[in-house]
Symmetry: C2
Subunit: 165 residues, 2 copies
DNA sequence: TACATTTTATAGCCCGTGCTATATTATTTA
DNA sequence: TAAATAATATAGCACGGGCTATAAAATGTA
């Protein structure tokens, strides 16, 4: 294997670069909980009409006390609003974050499906992967999704659009 | 858009399934630090001969006190051994985890490169993504890498191997 | 309306992983 | 060898996000 070939097993990367990468991951983990919460809250509102703490807790797989505490933090951070004994709502800021998170989530899932991952695994892995995907990578994922969907369909090429009429 | 088509924007997934997915992510985050540490320690030993706390801290981008504390935990968990004022070593268990982590890390990086991500971003995103990639997805990544490397090279088909001699 | 059930709130705990500040020990250099 | 520098250890603090247990309020039902 020549030096320039893949999997550079030796030779550590630049220290500062590596440190920056790890820091980025840690930062992603900070925003991660917020992203998953607002995305879920938006989904609950859209489908059931409201987002109650119990449902949020149940779908996240945490104790309701944990969910309530986190919701309090999200309120502090201006992503969510909630009055005592009422359901949880998203602020404008929260809605925006939810939209972006959901879009990214779906792209990741679609991408995993496109490369042949099973539905269940795609859902599973996407829930973690999504938070570590840069804009550049997201764009590449979208390209793959488009390429795959074109390859699958019975050639809806330019010829087809010309054929109509 | 028909109901069975991509990006199911409405219709929440099964609650238990969704909860299980989130739990899986949380579990991954528990093992994540250990994986990154042992991988880095192995790299440092392989290239510089030893893994000192300062270097570990520097490359992880954390204060050395933080690194030392985590190293203590890894020792408790039997992944690492270290005596006071000496460098850090991997146990057999730690070496194994390092090997697996490194392999997975490289596959993820190679995969990102294969779909056209820049070197820097591939390194960046891989550091987080790696911890959320299941075996099934990893296998799919390897397929893509192989497919891409075949497509790129000037057709090293069976014909070529026949040509020699 | 009264009672039972569900939902929400709150307190108190644990653990991991950050940090700074302050010794102490090793190592390098003058 | 002595002093300066570097590396390590340790203490103490903060915060996030888990948990259980308990209390209070809201809601559903008899
Ligand atoms: Mn997620
Ligand atoms: Mn998500
Ligand atoms: Mn990593
Ligand atoms: Mn992660």
């Amino acid at each position: 294997m020549t030096k320039s070939e893949s999997s550079a097993s030796s030779a550590l990367p630049d220290a500062d670069q590596q440190a920056a990468n790890f820091k980025r991951v840690r930062e992603a983990h900070q925003s991660e909980v917020a992203e998953d919460y607002v995305e879920l809250i938006a989904d609950l509102i859209n489908t059931t009409g409201e987002a109650r703490a119990v449902d949020i807790a149940r779908r996240l797989g945490v104790a309701h006390a944990t969910a309530v505490k986190t919701i309090a933090r999200l309120q502090r951070e201006g992503l969510v609003s909630s009055q005592p004994y009422r359901a949880v709502f998203l602020t404008e800021k929260g809605r925006e974050l939810a939209v972006h998170s959901k879009r990214r989530h779906e792209i990741v899932v679609d991408f995993l499906r496109a490369i042949g991952i099973s539905e269940k695994t795609a859902q599973r892995d996407a829930e973690g992967i999504e938070h570590h995907v840069s804009e550049e990578t997201l764009a590449a994922f979208e390209r793959v999704i488009r390429a795959e969907s074109l390859a699958k369909k019975p050639r809806p090429t330019l010829a087809d659009s010309a054929k109509e009429k």
